[in-house]
C-alpha cells in the first residue's frame, strides 16, 4: 500500500482528514486542547506483508476507530502520526517544526504491537508518572509490564515517551501476516486506550 492508499483506507469517517508532511508522514488530530499526546507508528514495508507491520497498522486503525465511534480522551489533542520508511530524525524534525517541542505531553511509539507479549519501555519519565502507569496496569489488569528503555532511541527529547513494543519470540521477523490474531490486537488496543484515558 502506498501512503495515498493508506490515507484512503484510514478515512473511516468524514470528519477525519489526514494531512501530508514532507511526503513521508501522515497526521491527523482527534479531540480538543492546547497540548498534544502523540501516537506514532512507522511502517517498514509498504506492502504490509510482514506480521509486525500488518498487526501494528491494524492496531493503529482500531484505536482511531474506537476514538471516533466510542469516545476520545478529553483535555488534550491526540495526534495520530503514521510514516513510511522514515527514521526517527525526520520525526524529531516534524515535531520541532509542526507541533512544537514544549506542547507535547506524551509520546506513544508503536513498534511491532499486536503480536503478543507487549511491554512498555519507559524513557525520560518522572517517578509520579511511572507510579500512575503502574497503578493503571494493576487496577485494570492489563497484560503488560513497564521496563526501562535501554536502547535510548529518543535521546535528548523533552517529552515523556513510552515505546510500546512486543517481544514474542525470535521468529517475529520471519512470520507473515497470516499469523495475525484479532484477540491479541484487541488486547493491545484496550491497553493503550485505557492508559491514554486514565493518565490525566
Amino acid at each position: 500500500m502506498d501512503l495515498k492508499k493508506i490515507k484512503k483506507d484510514l478515512k473511516i469517517y468524514e470528519g477525519i482528514d489526514f494531512k501530508f508532511y514532507n511526503n513521508g508522514i501522515l497526521y491527523s488530530d482527534i479531540g480538543y486542547g492546547d497540548k498534544f499526546v502523540i501516537l506514532y507508528l512507522n511502517l517498514e514495508d509498504k506492502s504490509l506483508s510482514t506480521l509486525r507491520d500488518f498487526s501494528s497498522y491494524q492496531v493503529f486503525k482500531e484505536i482511531l476507530k474506537r476514538f471516533i465511534t466510542i469516545s476520545y480522551p478529553a483535555g488534550f489533542r491526540t495526534r495520530f502520526i503514521l510514516s513510511l520508511k522514515q527514521d526517527i530524525y525526520t520525526f524529531k524534525k516534524y515535531i520541532d517544526e509542526v507541533v512544537g517541542n514544549e506542547k507535547v505531553l506524551d509520546l506513544f511509539i508503536l513498534d511491532s504491537v499486536g503480536v503478543g507479549n507487549e511491554k512498555i519501555m519507559a524513557n525520560n519519565l518522572s517517578s509520579n508518572k511511572i507510579m500512575k502507569v503502574r497503578e493503571i496496569i494493576e487496577n485494570f489488569g492489563l497484560c503488560t509490564d513497564l521496563i526501562i528503555d535501554k536502547e535510548l532511541i529518543l535521546d535528548n527529547f523533552n517529552a515523556d515517551s513510552f515505546i510500546v513494543k512486543s517481544f514474542p519470540n525470535c521468529f517475529l521477523k520471519k512470520l507473515d501476516n497470516s499469523f495475525y490474531n484479532e484477540k491479541l490486537r484487541d488486547r493491545t488496543v484496550f491497553m493503550i486506550t485505557t492508559i491514554l484515558k486514565k493518565l490525566y
Partner: protein, 284 residues
C-alpha cells in the same frame, strides 16, 4: 496482469501466428481477410481483458476462442487446429468451469472428428491422456492445499502456545541468570566487567557500579553519567537508600548497595524500582 492471464494471451498469440503462417504458406483464397480476422481476434481479446476478472463473464472470452478455432478448422480443413484448445483446459478452477469447458471441448473435438469423417482417432487419445493428467493434477493440488493449510494451522497454534509460555519464562530466565552470575562471581570465576554487564541487562536499573576495594577500581555500566568524585564509597552500608543525602547528591531516587568480599556493588534506579522483589532478594 496476473502471470496466468499473461500465459493465456501467449497461447492466443501462438494461435494467431500459426493461422497466419498456415494461411500464407498454403496460399489460401481470401488470405488477407483471414489474417485480418485473426489479428482482430487477438486485439479484441485484449480489449475485452476486464471480462477476465469476472467469474462467469470470462466464459465470453472462451466462447470467442472456441468459435475462432472451430471457424479455422472449417476454413483450412486442418483438424489439428483443435489441439490448440487443450492448453485452455488448465484454467479450470471451479465446478461450473468444469461443466462449461467440457461443453467447449465436446464441440471442438466433435467438429474436428466430423470433418475427418470419424477416421482420425489420434485426437481422441490425445484428449483422453490430457484429461487423465488433468484429473490427477486436480487431486494432487487438492491434497497439497490440505497439507499446507494443516501445517499453517499447526504453526499458528504453536505460536499462541509459545506466547503463553514466554511471560513465565522471562521471569525464570532473569532469576536464573542473576543467580548464576552472582554465585559464579563469588567463586571468582567471572570477570567483573561481564558480571556488571549481565546485571545491567537483566535488571531494569539505570546504572550498575562495582567498586574494587583493594585496587581502588570502578567498573561502570550506565545509561547516565554518575559523578562519584565527591563521595566516599566506603560509607555505603548494606541497604536500600531512599530519600537520603546520597540520593539527592547523585540524583537517583533509589540506590541499592551490597558488600561482597572485597567489592561493593551499587545499583541505581532513577525514578522507580521496576524489578520484582524475588529477583532483588537475590542481591540484597
Amino acid at each position: 496482469m496476473d502471470k496466468f492471464i499473461k500465459l493465456e494471451y501467449l497461447i492466443r498469440l501462438i494461435i494467431v501466428i500459426s493461422i497466419l503462417v498456415y494461411v500464407n504458406f498454403y496460399n489460401f483464397d481470401y488470405k488477407i481477410p483471414l489474417s485480418i480476422l485473426s489479428f482482430s481476434y487477438f486485439i479484441g481479446s485484449l480489449i475485452l481483458l476486464p471480462l477476465r476478472q469476472g467469474d462467469f463473464l470470462k466464459h465470453f472470452l472462451y466462447i470467442i476462442d472456441t468459435s475462432i478455432i472451430v471457424y479455422f478448422i472449417f476454413t483450412t480443413g486442418s483438424i489439428y487446429f483443435s489441439i490448440f484448445w487443450i492448453p485452455f483446459l488448465f484454467y479450470i478452477k471451479k465446478l461450473h468451469d468444469f461443466i462449461l469447458f467440457s461443453i467447449y471441448t465436446f464441440i471442438v473435438f466433435g467438429i474436428s472428428l466430423y470433418i475427418s469423417n470419424f477416421s482420425d482417432f489420434t485426437l481422441i487419445f490425445i484428449l483422453f491422456s490430457f484429461v487423465v493428467v488433468l484429473v490427477k493434477g486436480y487431486f494432487e493440488t487438492k491434497y497439497y492445499k490440505e497439507r499446507v493449510s494443516h501445517y499453517n494451522d499447526l504453526a499458528k497454534e504453536m505460536y499462541k502456545e509459545n506466547l503463553k509460555c514466554t511471560d513465565k519464562l522471562e521471569f525464570y530466565k532473569k532469576f536464573y541468570n542473576i543467580h548464576n552470575t552472582i554465585s559464579l562471581f563469588k567463586k571468582g570465576k567471572v570477570d567483573p566487567q561481564i558480571f556488571v554487564n549481565n546485571l545491567f541487562e537483566n535488571l531494569n536499573a539505570d546504572s550498575v557500579i562495582l567498586y574494587n576495594r583493594l585496587l581502588n577500581d570502578f567498573t561502570i555500566k550506565s545509561l547516565y553519567k554518575v559523578d562519584l568524585d565527591d563521595i566516599n564509597i566506603e560509607q555505603f552500608e548494606d541497604k536500600i537508600y531512599i530519600n537520603e543525602h546520597f540520593n539527592s547528591k547523585l540524583g537517583f531516587k533509589y540506590i541499592i548497595s551490597k558488600h561482597f568480599d572485597g567489592y561493593i556493588l551499587l545499583i541505581f534506579y532513577k525514578n522507580a524500582i521496576l524489578d520484582e522483589e524475588e529477583i532483588l532478594k537475590l542481591i540484597v
